[in-house]
């Protein structure tokens, strides 16, 4: 196994994913397989190769800094789990 349970726990925390014990066991096995599989890239000689930035070699487009969109907060917040007075509610972060 190229990854152990501790590493997978660290990755799951980075990804903000809660996993069950069963899921951890399966993830150690399957993520190890995937990491072993993509490790074949390390054998490729990529000296002086510039990493791809865009598949069609396009540059980032810029636009004038004009106001183009209007605030439609109430409409968007119809999908929010919990809202009060236009504010998204989350568990208390400060005591």
């Amino acid at each position: 196994m190229s990854l152990d349970k501790e590493q997978v726990q660290h990755i799951a925390m980075l990804a903000r994913l809660n996993l069950s014990d069963e899921e951890y066991a399966e993830s150690v096995e399957k993520l190890s397989k995937i990491v072993d599989f993509v490790d074949q890239l390390s054998a490729v000689d990529t000296t002086d190769v510039v990493p791809m930035a865009h598949p069609v070699d396009a540059a980032q487009r810029l636009r004038p800094d004009d106001v183009t969109a209007t605030n439609d907060r109430d409409h968007y917040q119809q999908n929010a789990p919990e809202v009060v007075d236009g504010l998204y509610l989350v568990p208390k972060v400060l005591e």
């Binding site: 980075l14 996993l19 995937i34 930035a53 598949p55 999908n79 789990p81």
Partner: protein
Amino acid sequence: MDMHRQTLTELCAGLDKGDFTSVELTQTLLDRVAAQDEKLNAFITVTSTEALAAAASADKARAAGNIGALNGLPIVHKDIFCTEGIKTTCGSKMLDNFISPYNATVVQKMADAGAVILGKSNMDEFAMGSSNETSFFGPVRNPWNLECSPGGSSGGSAASVAARLAPAATGTDTGGSIRQPAALTGTVGLKPTYGRVSRYGMIAFASSLDQAGMITRSAEDAARMLGVMAGFDERDSTSIDQAVPDYLAGIGESIKGLRVGVVRQHSDEGLEERTGARAKDAIAVLESMGATTVEVDLPNIDLSVPTYYVVAPAECSSNLSRFDGVRFGHRAENAEDLLDLYCRSRGEGFGDEVKRRIMTGAYVLSAGYYDAYYIKAQQVRQLIADDFKKAFADVDLIAGPTAPSPAFKLGDKVDDPIQMYLNDIYTIGANLAGLPAMSVPCGFVDDMPVGLHLVGPHFGEEMLLRCGHQYQQETDWHMACPEAFK
């Protein structure tokens, strides 16, 4: 001929002649969906009321002489496209309660052209899968054999078109998600050049690879749809500002003199023999029509799958960080604190494959590994793109099999991610290099359809469509209909 068996092009002519109205056509197809989809599970949402209302206004517009390119034609949208006021789930529990507040550009453009939406099609969760088995809403079944997968991730779109529930459907393709299900269901699937069709309102998986396209029953139908879907969109920062040609104009021209490349390096390991033979037969048909074949070198092509499984998960882990249980989507109950809210909402809302890809991405992007994996993969990706560029100096397109085998049984590959990933071995290269590519039906193996894969240079869609259409003038594989859905 029965309405449901007609292509988009034939239906268009029927509406023009007044053989039937859009309301009649839409009702016929809605009845078919109601009667048949229980077997397939191709739809997540059926929008009967909206469809009939849209059909009625299309009929009214037609009577007034306002006839859009898709006026009154019923289609299905993959449930990855945001549809205003209609549930948009992306095949996930995470978005099971999400009513999109706006339309994707593709959805808007098609609505403006008069298209009628029959519903939203089932798909692998967040488009991550090659068999449609990762959907929260259950797997889609292949109309050619209900025990088999229709492929994925646009499996619901492919199955609904193959089963004649709809003449055409939208799809998205990040590593083969339009072309592989098209091959496995005997339909036509086109993934355009990266940036040709707007990604605005298309729920993001891997933004440098994702591209919207369509699944249809003929290349001519694909040309008709692409003309509506393609074009610059200032709301998509990677959209390309280039004029949209009339894709139907040149498809009738001969392919005499077309140079067809056959890749020397494609490993035949894992290629089912008869599936490879059908593709060779199809290339022989192109030769009989005046095309010439040339062997081309893509020395790094076998690295495309490992490259993809670094780049795509990396982008997926970034894109899917927006699902936090706060602003929209699934939210865990009784969270202790903010971290607990994030971790449990995501842990509960995402399925196994999505979690796996998010974690793979978080790993390859994490401190100490970024250069070894992500930068390395983007370098190999450049090598693969350079290989294609060199090949296209000598050929007009590259042809081969779309998938290494016909449809596999549901459950067969679900436990081995690497085996599942290798299903996309022939299709992934086009995504890495941003190239347009298409699958057209080219025969059967054990009564299951297989596809011919055509890859073109950037913005080579006209040539791909012409080649596909000309091939379909000589062959009738695309006309075959699964017995149970005639």
